[in-house]
């Protein structure tokens, strides 16, 4: 995957749950991810799915992705075209699910980023440049294994490549 990402920021608050991202009332669409993706983040911002563009970046506060183990949540975010998520912190299951499917999550202070800002992320250098206000943020370095998962496009491709989990 390209180590440079750029896109428009979609700003959300703290504690965005997997119920905000993939509401329970669409449970029946879980075997139809393309349809489910039309409702992505509907309970946090009903207009998000119709306005999000390929490459856009979700920016949030604390504990993004808390709640259920549903991998459908990061999957529909990826299907919607989101290139990465930057938040102050992530809930654990959401974190591993996202990397398992090749969606990078970056931990950084996000207070300085406003909704609609144009962001440029350099995964190699560990920097987020806010082109709208000129600020540069440093995100917490990804561990080697998580980097490999993103480079390989997720755990399934990773296993195909190495024949095993290969965490070192």
């Amino acid at each position: 995957m390209n180590s440079k990402i750029s896109g428009k920021a979609w700003k959300f608050g703290d504690n965005i749950s997997t119920d905000h991202i993939t509401p329970g009332r669409y449970f029946h669409l879980r075997s139809n991810l393309e349809e489910l993706a039309k409702h992505v983040l509907e309970d946090a911002d009903p207009s998000f799915s119709s306005k999000v563009k390929a490459g856009d970046i979700i920016v949030a506060g604390r504990n993004f992705g808390l709640g259920s183990s549903r991998e459908h949540a990061p999957r529909v975010i990826k299907i919607a075209g989101v290139s990465c998520i930057i938040a102050k912190s992530f809930a654990r299951i959401f974190y591993r699910n996202a990397f398992n499917i090749g969606l990078p999550l970056l931990v950084s202070d996000t207070d300085g980023i406003d909704d609609g800002d144009k962001l440029k992320v350099n995964l190699e250098k560990g920097e987020i440049e806010d082109e709208t206000n000129g600020k540069v943020l440093i995100f917490t370095t990804l561990s080697h294994f998580m980097r490999k998962l993103i480079e390989n496009g997720g755990i399934e491709e990773h296993i195909k490549k190495y024949g095993d989990f290969k965490v070192e």
Binding site: D19, D43, G67, E71, A91, R92, F145, E156
Partner: protein, 418 residues
């Protein structure tokens, strides 16, 4: 340096000593998915040409979330799980048999096990001294086929709960208190060990309520040392030989230790829309409740139903408050029938539904109307959780829920226990 429970169990499953922060590949003992997450696991296994399970007896699909199914799309997903189970020999726990976490502790999990499940509340099993954690469908697909998972070894937080629980205060109140204190991300990624004389004096059922909600503080798992209570529980379930002493070493390293005085607690309620928004019953003003739900993997066990029934005995629900009761498993349902608890609920005006997750997942059996408020014994109160983002969810113990159903507004259970 000694080890915490998690470090011991993970070390055993990796085959060498592990330390917090390390990435490892660990063997698993029990793997499960449910009807919300299992279909994606099966699709991934088909895609990878790995339609097999590592151990037929310990690879399980539970149909509990939409159970029985409420629409054809869900029925087709469930059909996929039944077909996959037939083909691979995986165990299928079908409609009416109960909630995955309850079924796991009834029939599968033993001390020292490493359990992974495609459901966030898999941590429930940790009360049996097992390392049990929730993961996504792809992780679980790989665990089904390969019998192993990748893990980052977590640091451990210890919560020491001391003192006698006052009347009307239960293990649900203990865990709500802890989450209210440390926050919904207060233990993100950490293993949590619960100990102290209060925990030692709890039944297995009450312990499951506590470990069930470890994830609501962000925890990777919740654990309780094994003791005579664990031994008796396993003996009663025909698994006495599986008992093992599981506890952390006295010189183990805990990243954080917090002490809780149980004797100072009162009944608690989590207000919408986060589990850490906890208030003492004495601070709760007049909150009218449209629906009360008693059940779930958190509080749908026999002990919970007994407490609720003892409050309902001879009383009726408030005419403006619907009452839904769902036993956590078929076994719980049968025993509740034999003890006359179901009769008490029916006479109190309850609707009894078949064992499963019920309205907690937001697809059936009690979806909220716009602006309606529910008080539930479940573990989560996020926006939209019960099928309507315009609804409001309050969480409490079964006792508080029963008192609330009678009064039609959030009520203190203590007056009913005298």
């Amino acid at each position: 340096m000694g080890k915490t429970i998690s470090e011991k169990i993970i070390s055993e499953h990796v085959g060498r000593d592990v330390k917090p922060g390390e990435f490892v590949v660990a063997k698993v003992d029990v793997v499960m998915a449910q009807d919300g997450t299992g279909p994606l696991s099966v699709q991934e296994l088909k895609k990878m040409n790995m339609e097999r399970v590592f151990d037929k007896d310990n690879s399980i699909f539970f149909i509990d979330h939409a159970s029985p199914s409420s629409r054809k799309e869900l029925s087709n997903s469930q059909k996929l799980l039944r077909e996959f189970s037939k083909k691979t020999g995986a165990f299928l726990s079908d409609v009416g048999e109960g909630i995955c976490h309850q079924r796991l502790v009834e029939d599968w999990v033993n001390p020292g096990n490493l359990v992974v499940g495609a459901d966030s509340h898999t941590c429930t099993s940790g009360a049996l001294g097992a390392f049990a954690t929730g993961m996504g469908s792809t992780d679980i697909a790989l665990a089904f086929a390969l019998g192993k998972v990748w893990l980052k070894v977590p640091e451990t937080h210890k919560f020491v709960v001391k003192g006698k629980l006052p009347e009307g205060v239960y293990s649900k109140d203990i865990i709500l208190h802890i989450i209210g204190k440390i926050g919904a991300d207060g233990a993100t990624y950490k293993a949590i060990e619960f100990e102290g004389d209060t925990i030692e004096n709890l039944s297995m059922s009450s312990r499951f309520t506590i470990t069930n909600m470890a994830v609501e503080a962000g925890g990777k798992t919740g654990l309780i040392s094994t003791d005579e209570t664990t031994r008796k529980y396993l003996e009663e379930r025909g698994r006495g030989v599986k008992f093992r002493e599981i506890k952390s070493d006295s010189d183990a390293n805990f990243e954080k230790v917090l002490e809780i005085k149980a004797n100072k607690l009162e009944p608690l309620v989590a207000f919408p829309h986060t589990v850490d928004n906890v208030k003492g019953i004495s601070e709760v003003e007049d909150v009218k409740i449209d629906q009360v739900f008693i059940g779930t993997c958190t509080n749908g066990r026999l002990e919970d139903l007994r407490i609720a029934a003892s409050i309902f005995k001879g009383k009726k629900r408030h005419p403006d408050t619907r009452l839904i009761v769902i036993p956590a498993s078929r076994e719980v349902f049968l025993e509740a029938l034999r003890e006359g608890l179901i009769e008490t609920f029916l006479e109190a005006g309850a609707s009894i539904e078949s064992p499963g997750c019920g309205p907690c997942v937001g697809i059936h059996k009690g979806v909220l109307g716009d602006g309606e408020r529910v008080l539930s014994t479940q573990n989560r109160n996020f926006v939209g959780r019960m099928g309507n983002p315009e609804g409001f969810i309050y969480l409490s113990s079964p006792a508080t829920a029963a008192a609330t159903a009678i009064e039609g507004r959030i009520a203190d259970p203590r007056g009913y226990l005298k």
